[in-house]
């Protein structure tokens, strides 16, 4: 499926000859030749523009005789025909035999001329400019500029503008390279910036000169080569040379962007993209770029807390807390057996910590009640997501996602769940015509008409029917030619609904299903992306089966590779699955029930492991609420917010004899605990995380944790040792060495290979064979009330967003969103309170109109301040029906 390698051509730049693929830009070829050609307007993610002219060079090509042979000079070297004018290296592609000169008098004069022009109206305020010290214009002025200015007239000036809480514009410094405008449009799909006026009066601003209404990603600031766009949170805070730079991995979602933290003393002052490094290069979303504030929050816990004898939580020493926790765990295990203990959470931990967490549960305490997937509403086998994403076949990367010709996004709003994935798709649509099909009940950003894709508004409750119907449409359009015979036969025999029946159940017209199915079937490089909307669904096992069926049918899974991506809800959701933070699988997807798989770990860990799979998170929730689970250890997870039913979770916490919580903040969950361990934040510890493309990436320690704060791994080890285990890891690297030795898929990986970019996960075992079975929705089709649509939104990803100052400010005030017609029929107008009543409780929220919400639905974003959606009853946010009424009507009645 890969294109043939492009022809190599030879190009000589300042006397250095290099061989590069035909079609390479001269600026890129120059990098191979180690010749520096300056650029401003050119950017690797944007098509060539050729506007700033700083890259002008002299270019010649060999003279040719009529028969095509090169004309040779007296000394046998080819004669060169030089182009009459200097050419822009950033727009010219190399041809064989091309000669490029950057140091001839003509090229130097041209470049110096442009440099001088760039400075004509540029202010001399470098000493107070945020960019000073890392400014490309400053560097180039130093390298190529005149020592004295010939410009003595008054400069053209603008007034500076605040473009919202993130971007401050100093237009006088602008060199009109248009990077910000083009990036905003072509990569972010926001189109929030534009140029006003023309000529020397050209000024970048928002269209109406009002604060930017956009994703506030700050990438415009990042790509600005000068100090014209500055980030308000960092403005005037530091000089770049005073900052220590640490490249680590962003903790805010499962995309796993590399982020460069600028640290002074013990404080993170800014976060930036990494230029040419990581999977994201310069890209960061608003959370990644400005969300670091929580690390320095004064509300951070700095000492362990203990609840002794039924009183309140009291500060305690670390050793005291460890001894207490270990003693209580031991006592409960002795009294009620190890299966009265359950471990929850851990999707935000590094893989080393995840590994230790389950090892502590399984090997030290002897319980298989381990589950990181606290948001799940149905028991899902620990390898179900592995199967749906290709069963261990080579995983999809962002690189290949960017070159897909068709991408199906199932159920997720990538704006909130995976901003990098969204940006990759926006750019692919814009620059390569990739067709994106979005199956989502709301018209989310990627489903907007301007991107030219297809929106399939799937009715809540109709997800299984939808995926089955789509699979049917794909099969009708033709299965891939290269399917293994058995797989093809199984697909042909698979019971799938008629399109009309599927359409009736999912609300997407049969014609639209057929068209989408044809697109999927015809795509040469199709990909499928899904996330929490399907895995946290009450019918998740059926949905994951349906996705596996669909993926094989449309060729997204082939014999040796997978083009299906799971965008998990947390930065290391994937690692949690890999590390066996599931009740039925040991690390590396080895079944707990498999004695030979257990034997390997038993040898390494010592002792025997329980062969009975444990309870999954939703089962633990119910069992704990009934008092059947006596002890809960919740690691870095605000369980009261993440559990599908808050009332049950509250009961569970109240009933448990022992609740241990690892947390950064005193959340409601932590308040209900008996032991609270304050733990290190992402910038304060090292380790490996696994992103949604299953890439292993190492995080760096940019700061030391405060006194009294330990990493989760240190806490687990301390408790394990207090329980009598002989763990002696000196740090995460030791743990990782054990993982690399024991865990399938992690063999032969080492820390050293993971900076800055690690390898993608490789499964050494034979991948899971296709398992193609009917996927059926077991729920009754009929029901009453409105569907509650919940979803992640960009500015509020989990409870940590509320520990920053900027993100809650950017997020709108808590609202419930319905479309205008719906609101009219409910008798509420904009801003009036709406009562949302679920089976277990109710919420009152001001209503806001949003026509992207379909009729019969109400959309409530996750993590809005003070809005506990899981109050309404399980399964909150994934197929729950609620009753809506105007608050006034309730009061009257």
């Amino acid at each position: 499926m890969s294109a043939p390698a492009p022809q190599q051509v030879r190009v000589t730049i300042d006397g250095r000859t290099v061989e590069v693929p035909a079609g390479t830009l001269v600026t890129d070829a120059a990098k191979h030749a180690q010749v520096h050609i300056p650029i401003f307007c050119s950017h690797e993610k944007l098509p060539p523009l050729g506007a700033c002219r700083i890259c002008v060079v002299e270019i010649g090509t060999p003279k040719r005789n009529r028969d095509g042979t090169p004309v040779l000079a007296a000394d046998g070297s080819p004669e060169i025909a030089w182009m009459p004018k200097p050419q822009t290296a950033c727009t010219t592609t190399v041809t064989d035999g091309m000669v490029v000169a950057t140091i001839t008098p003509g090229a130097v004069k041209a470049r110096q001329g442009v440099m001088e022009f760039l400075l004509v109206n540029h202010p001399l305020d470098c000493p107070v400019c945020d960019e000073g010290g890392e400014c490309q214009l400053q560097d180039l002025a130093f390298a190529f500029g005149h020592d004295a200015s010939r410009m003595s007239d008054a400069k053209r000036t603008f007034v500076s503008e605040d473009l919202g809480p993130v971007v401050k514009k100093e237009a006088n410094r602008c060199i009109v390279c248009m990077r910000c405008v083009r990036y905003c449009d072509e990569v972010m799909g926001e189109d929030a910036l534009t140029a006003h006026q023309r000529g020397v009066h050209t000024e970048i601003s928002s269209f109406n000169r009002q604060p930017l209404e956009c994703e506030q990603c700050g990438n415009c600031v990042e790509v600005c080569p000068v100090g014209a766009l500055t980030a308000l949170p960092y403005r005037f805070k530091a000089r770049p040379w005073d900052l220590r730079q640490h490249v680590t991995i962003c903790p805010w979602c499962s995309n796993g962007c590399s982020v460069r933290l600028g640290v002074r003393g013990m404080e993170i002052l800014r976060a930036r993209g990494t230029e040419q490094r990581g999977i994201n290069h310069e890209f960061l979303c608003v959370r990644g770029r400005f969300g670091y504030e929580f690390v320095a929050s004064p509300e951070r816990l700095s000492t362990p807390l203990l609840r002794l004898g039924g009183g309140g939580l009291q500060p305690a020493g670390f050793d005291e807390a460890v001894t207490f926790a270990a003693g209580e765990l031991q006592a409960i295990a002795r009294r009620h057996g190890p299966s009265s203990i359950a471990f929850l959470g851990g999707e935000k931990l590094n893989v080393e910590e995840q590994y230790l967490f389950q090892k502590l549960a399984r090997a030290v305490l002897g319980t298989n009640h381990v589950d990181a997937r606290t948001r799940f509403t149905a028991p899902v086998p620990g390898d179900a997501i592995l199967r749906a994403t290709g069963g261990g076949r080579a995983p999809l990367s962002f690189e290949s996602l960017a070159h897909a010709d068709h991408v199906l996004v199932l159920g997720d709003d990538l704006q909130g769940e995976g901003p990098l994935a969204q940006a990759v798709l926006v750019r692919a649509q814009h620059q390569q015509g990739t067709h994106v099909t979005v199956a989502h009940p709301r018209q989310v950003k990627l489903a907007r008409p301007k991107f030219g894709g297809t929106w399939l508004p799937v009715q809540p409750g109709g997800e299984v029917a939808f995926v089955n119907g789509l699979t049917r449409a794909v099969r009708d359009a033709g299965l891939p030619d290269d399917l293994p015979a058995a797989t093809a036969a199984a697909l042909r025999a698979l019971a799938l609904p008629e399109l009309a029946a599927a359409a009736g159940a999912c609300g997407v017209a049969a014609g639209a299903l057929a068209a989408a199915g044809t697109r999927l079937a015809r795509a040469a490089r199709g990909a499928i992306v899904f996330g929490r909307a399907y895995t946290e669904h009450p019918e998740a096992p059926a949905l994951l089966q349906a996705i596996e069926n669909l993926a094989w049918a449309c060729g997204a899974i082939t014999a040796d590779a997978s083009r299906v991506m799971y965008v998990g809800p947390q930065n290391d959701s994937q690692g949690a699955l890999d590390m066996g933070l599931v009740p039925d699988h040991l690390p590396g997807y080895l079944p707990v029930a498999d004695a030979s798989a257990r034997a390997g770990y038993e040898r390494a860990w010592g002792g025997t492991l329980d062969g009975a799979p444990g309870m999954s998170a939703p089962e633990i929730l119910r069992a704990a609420a009934e008092g059947k689970v006596r002890a809960l250890w919740i690691a870095s997870d605000h369980w009261l917010a993440s559990a599908p039913d808050r009332t049950l979770a509250e009961q569970a916490l109240a009933k448990a004899e022992l609740v241990i919580v690892n947390e950064l903040f005193l959340t409601d969950t932590a308040r209900a605990a008996h032991v609270v361990f304050p733990v290190a934040a992402f910038a304060e510890k090292e380790g490996v995380t696994v992103n949604c493309e299953r890439r292993l990436q190492r995080t760096a320690r940019a700061l030391s944790p405060r006194r009294g704060v330990k990493s989760d791994g240190d806490v687990f080890q301390a408790v394990a040792r207090a329980l009598g285990a002989t763990w002696s890891y000196r740090g995460p690297e030791d743990v990782y060495r054990e993982i690399a030795r024991l865990v399938p898929g992690y063999h032969d990986t080492g820390w050293a290979t993971m900076l800055p970019l690690g390898p993608q996960w490789r499964f050494e075992h034979a991948p899971r064979a296709a398992r193609l079975e009917p996927a059926t929705d077991g729920r009754p089709a009929a029901g009453e009330g409105h569907w509650l649509l919940a979803g992640g939104v960009l500015f509020l990803q989990g409870s940590l967003a509320h520990r920053t100052t900027l993100l809650p400010k950017l997020a709108k005030a808590p609202r419930a969103y319905v479309n205008a017609a719906e609101a009219r029929s409910l008798g509420v107008t904009d801003g009036e309170p709406l009562v949302i009543a679920g089976p277990a409780g109710e919420l009152t929220l001001p209503v806001a109109f949003d026509d992207a919400v379909p009729a019969g639905c109400v959309f409530v974003p996750y993590a809005q301040a003070g809005v506990a959606l899981n109050r309404l009853g399980a399964p909150a946010g994934a197929g729950l029906r609620v009753r809506l009424s105007a608050a006034a009507a309730v009061a009257k009645a």
């Binding site: 060539p48 523009l49 050729g50 506007a51 700033c52 002219r53 700083i54 002008v56 009459p84 004018k85 200097p86 727009t91 004069k109 041209a110 001329g113 442009v114 001088e116 022009f117 760039l118 004509v120 109206n121 010939r150 410009m151 007239d153 008054a154 053209r156 060199i175 009109v176 248009m178 140029a195 006026q197 023309r198 000529g199 020397v200 009066h201 050209t202």
Partner: protein
């Protein structure tokens, strides 16, 4: 009816009622359409135009037939013909008179050109100030449509051709063909990277030919009478006639249609009746404000592409600006550069900043604030713009400066030294300057 104003395009230009289709037809108009469309093979049409040697009348003088032949054949994409009626070059007003008086000839030219390279849609892009001409044109298009000459099944054949008009918003840069296309698509009027050239990837990324009004209006005659007929005028490499817009203190300013190659002096003395008020020619800008000027000593230069190139200037759009001996070259140049500063689109650095800076320097020179090194600086800035800007607008601003400095350097030096003009007429330049 007075004597014809010109041999070809201006032959009947002043006929009353020519904007109506009946008068146009009575003079032989639209006769070529049924003889060519659906009859004469497109390749033969292109060959005929190539053989005629017709070159673009918008300024660049690119061979028209050759341009058409660059349009890919057998492409699945639609092809477009765009008529550039954005005539904005200072000193040029020929298209305006042609559009005002003879709109049907343009429509006929567009039908025939579209047939030649296979376009089914045409656009006429008017400069914003031509709103009244757009209305005239729209009436003519409607008449032609009623006569079965525009729309589906032209002249009873299977060939369909639709013409749309579009009004620009008043930007000089939109006369540059790629900026025109950007503007036509609804984007900011700024030039695009070439290659790909419009013939391959133009309007809406489809093959597009952009031709000037006068160019297209020459096509009906060529296809009616043949290439040899067209070559009865002009020179070997610049055949045909050219409409020249003459401005300045001549006795008969205005548009004159002349055979190409006519000496500049003949144009001024015979067609324009010489200078008025006893003034003498000091210099002539022969092809619109963007080209270097010629001093009075070079009035023997022929009005064709090659002769002008040989003298270091260009025939351009044919806007002949006559500068008399009472005009200060510094003042005239300042006026010109202010125009380019105002019209620079801002896309590329040399043009955006360079025109601003040159205008500042010229303002200082003109008002008596010039410094010793300003003239050299001006020359160097023009050199730093020329050939380094994104499109020809930068060159257009640099070349007049170079031309003025080449031939009238002494006037600039005088401005610096005496802080006043060589000529006395422009007294305002001395205001505020002590004697």
């Amino acid at each position: 009816v007075s004597a014809p104003r010109g041999p070809h395009l201006f032959k009947d230009i002043d006929t009353p009622g020519l904007t109506g289709i009946d008068v146009y037809r009575s003079l032989g108009g639209y006769q070529t359409v049924p003889k060519v469309v659906g009859v004469k093979p497109p390749e033969a049409c292109i060959e005929e135009v190539k053989a005629s040697g017709l070159r673009g009348r918008g300024g660049a003088g690119f061979p028209t037939g050759l341009k058409w032949s660059f349009v890919p054949k057998g492409t699945a994409k639609p092809k477009y013909l765009v008529c550039n009626a954005d005539e904005s070059e200072p000193g040029t007003f020929k298209d305006r008179e042609l559009l005002e008086k003879d709109p049907h000839r343009l429509i006929e030219g567009m039908i025939l050109s579209a047939w030649a390279f296979g376009a089914n849609t045409g656009y006429i892009y008017f400069r914003g100030e031509f709103a009244h001409l757009e209305r005239t044109m729209q009436r003519a298009i409607d008449e032609a449509r009623r006569a079965g000459l525009v729309g589906a099944r032209i002249a009873g054949t299977d060939f369909a051709f639709e013409v749309h008009t579009h009004l620009g918003a008043g930007a000089y840069i939109c006369g540059e063909e790629t900026a025109l296309l950007s503007s036509l698509e609804g984007y900011r009027g700024q030039p695009r990277l070439k290659p790909p050239f419009p013939a391959v990837e133009g309007l809406y990324r489809c093959p597009t030919v952009v031709n000037n009004v006068e160019t297209l209006m020459n096509v009906p005659g060529i296809l009616q009478h043949g290439a040899a007929w067209f070559r009865q005028w002009g020179t070997e490499k610049s055949p045909g006639t050219k409409i020249l817009s003459v401005s300045g203190p001549v006795k008969r300013p205005g548009n004159h249609e002349v055979p190409m190659g006519l000496p500049l002096a003949t144009l001024i003395d015979q067609y324009c009746g010489g200078m008025r008020d006893g003034l003498k020619v000091k210099a002539v800008i022969p092809g619109g404000s963007s080209v270097p000027l010629l001093p009075a000593s070079q009035l023997d230069t022929g009005l064709d592409f090659e002769s002008m190139n040989a003298r270091g200037t260009f025939l351009g759009s044919g806007g002949v600006i006559v500068i008399d001996d009472q005009t200060c070259i510094v003042d005239a140049l300042h006026n010109l550069i202010r125009f380019y500063e105002h019209e620079s689109c801002g896309k590329c650095t040399p043009c955006r900043e360079g025109t601003f800076w040159m205008a500042e320097i010229l303002a200082r020179l003109e008002t008596g604030g010039g410094r010793e090194d300003d003239v050299a600086l001006l020359a160097d800035l023009a050199d730093n713009i020329l050939g380094k800007s994104f499109c020809a607008l930068g060159d257009a601003a640099a070349m007049p400066v170079q031309g003025a400095l080449l031939h009238f350097r002494d006037e600039f030096d005088h401005h610096v030294r005496a802080r006043r003009c060589v000529v006395n007429r422009r007294r305002e330049s001395l205001e505020g300057v002590p004697a």
